[in-house]
Symmetry: C2
Subunit: 276 residues, 2 copies
């Protein structure tokens, strides 16, 4: 007789992966449950994040790995309601930017390091290259994800707001971001509305994303298994199903689907990044 | 009389921030302790990560936020010793690439989404723009940081290996990465050697990195406080002190300090990314 395993972690794995889910097999801890529990929060109830909690969220962000200790992360805490409102509009009219208890803008910031190096009389040559932008985006994102996990461990919901890049020049102007910085995305943190139907969303099976020593394209059956699971999820949510047709293709087929983000290269140049 | 607060979380905060550390004030949980405990692991003891643990680490990675559910993350598990050895050399001769129980290469992967969209008869235009590379790097890094936190929650140590980009073309060839993919960094996971002196590393005070509504350059005294703390840390570790002079400036003053990463733009182009 097979024993039914029904830990929270196993239930989470089942929601992510369906019938082929990995078996937790007794492995697990509170942190893994926080990580696996993640779902997008698009509706927030009124409520606050305490100053102490916000400081711990930022401390978690700063505790992430950082390339050569460069600490490229700056974060703008937006609590002015009028500014929140303008950012909500710049991000395509997202109400959650207004409603979240805390709204953060994560900024890739070379300016501190450049100031310090310049004071020591050094020239700055490396920043002209694409890798410098890449390494700072990586740095900020390691930090931001730690902040997300910290907030979720405290019971809050979070959502990343990449659509801030739709109008990146206006965001830079609003936040008065200096040369050698650029905003990468926003993050809404707050009390999740339990009426929000969003649940743990299915992801590709591990056979699709994990490769062994060399890359192997996914089996068609494994991709189809995923398309079936994600479409079933959208139907349950009463959202338009057919993820591949309605969502994926609609976002990559035309440059207009980038909603302004096709222009960020010019902005990077204006901010100092040649991306050679 | 002031009560002495000495939780693990408070001790971690004190190591990160010194005298001006935030006070945890009774807030805390196991996940925050895992996040704040992070330190780079450069020396690994022999030991393994079980298959179940690795599946849970990958499940954590896939549970992170992903832009429009695009799931840009692929991960190559490198367990062939000869391949490990070659990657170690390509990353500047890093022994930890050989010694880690698990070595992962995190890959930004547009190829799956492009294949699906093409099957549906759609043209692909958005991928020509810089933002497409940015959004996929963000996606991979949200995943990779979740994997790092999951591994650390299980008692392992981790280190990111950005130096894989030093020889990105050779890494692409070794892992047979197809068009519309690129490797972002490696990650070593394993049993930390307790003899490794690396400790929780000081970071900038929160006043330096946190801005309120608009960006404000850091106060010189706050930057100097940090330089004093990080230099004291390096002296304790018996490493060359003067972070600003020896480490920071040495890494950004010349293009040669990028150790080959000044050429990644050409590689992005070869892989299909025009970065318009």
């Amino acid at each position: 007789m097979t024993e039914v395993i029904s830990t929270e972690l196993q239930q989470q794995l089942d929601k992510r992966y369906g019938a082929g889910a990995p078996i937790a097999d007794g492995v697990g801890n509170e942190t893994l449950e926080v990580l696996l529990r993640h779902r997008t929060t698009r509706r927030f109830l009124p409520g606050t994040v305490s100053d102490t909690e916000l400081r711990l969220i930022i401390a978690a962000a700063q505790s992430a790995s950082t390339s050569a200790n460069f600490q490229f992360t700056s974060v703008v805490v937006v609590d002015d309601p009028a500014l929140r409102n303008r950012l909500a509009e710049l991000a395509g009219g997202q109400q959650l930017v207004r409603d979240a208890a805390v709204f953060l803008v994560w900024v890739a910031d070379w300016s501190r390091n450049i100031a310090i190096a310049t004071e020591h009389g050094h020239s700055i040559e490396a920043t002209a290259y694409l890798d410098s932008a890449v390494s700072s985006i990586v740095d900020v994102t390691l930090s931001a994800q730690n902040a997300a996990v910290a907030a979720e461990s405290l019971g809050y919901g979070i959502t990343f707001v990449g659509a801030l890049r739709n109008n990146i020049d206006a965001v830079i102007a609003e936040l008065r971001l200096p040369q050698w910085t650029f905003p990468v995305y926003g993050m809404a943190i707050g009390v999740p509305d339990p009426a929000d139907p969003a649940d743990i969303k299915p992801r590709y099976g591990q056979s699709v994303v994990v490769h062994r020593n060399t890359y192997s394209p996914p089996a068609a059956a494994d991709v189809q298994d995923y398309l079936d699971r994600i479409n079933a999820y959208y139907r349950e949510q009463e959202l338009p199903a057919d993820w591949a047709k309605n969502r994926l293709a609609g976002r990559i087929s035309t440059k207009e689907s980038l909603h302004g983000r096709q222009h960020i290269r010019r902005t990077f140049g204006n901010q100092g990044f040649e991306l050679r």
